[in-house]
Amino acid sequence: MYFVVTFALLVTMTLALVRALLGPTVYDRVLSVNMFGTKTVLLLSVIAFLAGRPDFLDLALAYALINFIGVLAVLEFFKSRASRREEELRGEGGG
């Protein structure tokens, strides 16, 4: 049964990667990468039992933490960049 879940997770990760490569806006890419990270956590937890190595669960926990912080940092970066660009446009329009 673990094989079926692993296969479903791998297919979903592939679809998320395709969306990350296609995605028209940068937010589509961030969404796909966030989804990819969540699926990686699930995949690590399933593989820990598929391979009989429970220490993979620590990796899954660490990956969940890193993924969350990384997505928030990337979003904050793009948010500040978008607002700065808007400021510049408004400055050019006013002056």
Binding site: N34, L42, V46, L75, K79, A82
Partner: protein, 109 residues
């Protein structure tokens, strides 16, 4: 009893895999950003909960179950936060959730 637990955990794992797969297809095929976010949130909630519950039933009452519960709790707290941050950043960047014009082909990046 063990056999019943196996059956239940297999059902949970299969349902979780199905939800994850459906969410993945939706995230690829949906027409614009907010609908894609909707599809992806299916995998973050139902998929994660079902897969983790199935694996937890297989693990029994051990340290692994505690770790899985910690991972699940963390995922359930962080994925709505990340979704909110993503939607808020996209709204601030001027991507409108327009139901009439669904496809994002006309919007520039």
């Amino acid at each position: 009893m063990d056999f019943a637990l196996d059956i239940i955990s297999w059902i949970l794992l299969a349902a979780g895999g199905a939800f994850v797969l459906v969410g993945g297809i939706g995230a690829l095929r949906m027409p614009n950003l907010y609908t894609r976010m909707h599809a992806a949130s299916v995998t973050d909630t139902m998929g994660a909960v079902l897969v983790m519950a199935g694996v937890m039933l297989q693990a029994g009452l051990t340290l692994a179950t505690f770790k899985l519960a910690a991972i699940l709790l963390f995922l359930l707290i962080t994925s709505p936060t990340a979704s909110y941050a993503l939607a808020s950043a996209a709204m601030l960047a001027g991507i409108k959730p327009d139901a009439g014009q669904a496809a994002d082909l006309e919007q520039d990046s």
